[in-house]
């Protein structure tokens, strides 16, 4: 991409999770923005989760539902007072439904600079068996 094609980033407020269930934990929960793409062999998910450390991050895959959770600890020190706040911090939560069967043993997750890269390899499909009909 050349410089002339680079667009300017627009400010966006984080989207809060709208949950029908009551939250049991204090503070807001946000939906991380994500890219999802697929190849023949795997599904890859990239999610922006600034402030999440790998020890506070959790992936859960049950049947076809993938759940991402990341806790963010308030970065402010004890002696600090706010002058102004344009963004809020809190946990991240998002669920995805996967259409393919994932090989759970080969899932790979990396969290670098607040970006999650999750690789979900698909289970190799067995070649369809050809059935020959014998005339009886």
């Amino acid at each position: 991409m050349t410089d002339s094609e680079t667009k300017d980033l627009q400010a966006k407020e984080k989207e809060e999770v709208v949950s029908p269930a009551e939250q049991t934990k204090q503070g807001p929960t946000f939906v991380p923005v994500a890219d999802i793409f697929e190849t023949e062999s795997a599904i890859t998910l990239l999610a922006d989760m600034p402030g999440v450390k790998s020890e506070n991050f959790d992936i859960d895959l049950r049947e076809d539902t993938l759940t991402l959770t990341g806790e963010v600890l308030p970065p402010e020190g004890p002696g600090e007072t706010d002058i102004f706040r344009e963004y809020q911090t809190g946990r991240y939560y998002r669920q995805f439904t996967l259409s393919d069967v994932i090989d759970q043993s080969k899932i790979d997750a990396k969290l670098n600079d607040g970006v999650l890269r999750l690789t979900l390899p698909k289970v190799e499909k067995t070649a369809p068996r050809k059935i020959t009909i014998t005339a009886g």
Binding site: Q10, A11, D35, D48, K53, Y87, N112, G114
Partner: protein, 153 residues
């Protein structure tokens, strides 16, 4: 008498044709006054990327912003005695061409933001660090701007 009551025209409306306009203007002014008060009461963002939080303690101002995936090299930060400028470009590395996207919500692009600080700082002592996608800039207050305990002698 009954007919006159049915067409009950307010007398003041005719006595001063501008009276009604004046009243409407006052109402509109009040409406906007309330609106502006509402905005300052809530924390309204400037709507410029990146969104920032500013805090202070007795020694320094701290400016934080969320820049996931960005490294120190992608950023340009400069400070004067009372302002801070942050600019850079967020790049998202392209994936293989044969991939099929289901969602593309993450955005790349350039940005530039300048903020004015409410007090004087020492630009030579400004420090910045980026960790887990969060940029923190520590701007130590200049000696003259620090609160000082006054002893009563």
């Amino acid at each position: 008498m009954i007919v006159r009551r049915m067409f009950n025209t307010p007398a003041w409306g005719w006595r001063s044709p501008f009276g009604e306009l004046e009243r409407m203007k006052n109402q509109v002014d009040r409406l906007f006054e309330g609106y502006h008060k509402g905005l300052s009461g809530r924390q309204q963002s400037a709507g410029v990327f990146p969104l920032i939080n500013v805090s202070e303690d007795k020694d320094a101002y701290r400016v934080r912003t969320e820049l996931p995936g960005m490294k120190a090299d992608d950023l340009d930060i400069s400070a004067t005695a009372d302002s801070l400028a942050i600019s850079g470009e967020r790049k998202i590395a392209p994936e293989d061409e044969e991939v099929k996207y289901h969602r593309r919500e993450r955005e790349s692009g350039k940005f530039s933001r300048m903020i004015k600080l409410s007090g004087q700082i020492d630009p030579s002592k400004v420090e910045a660090g980026i960790a887990d996608g969060i940029l923190t800039v520590v701007l130590p207050k200049s000696e003259s701007a620090k609160p000082r305990q006054i002893k009563i002698g």
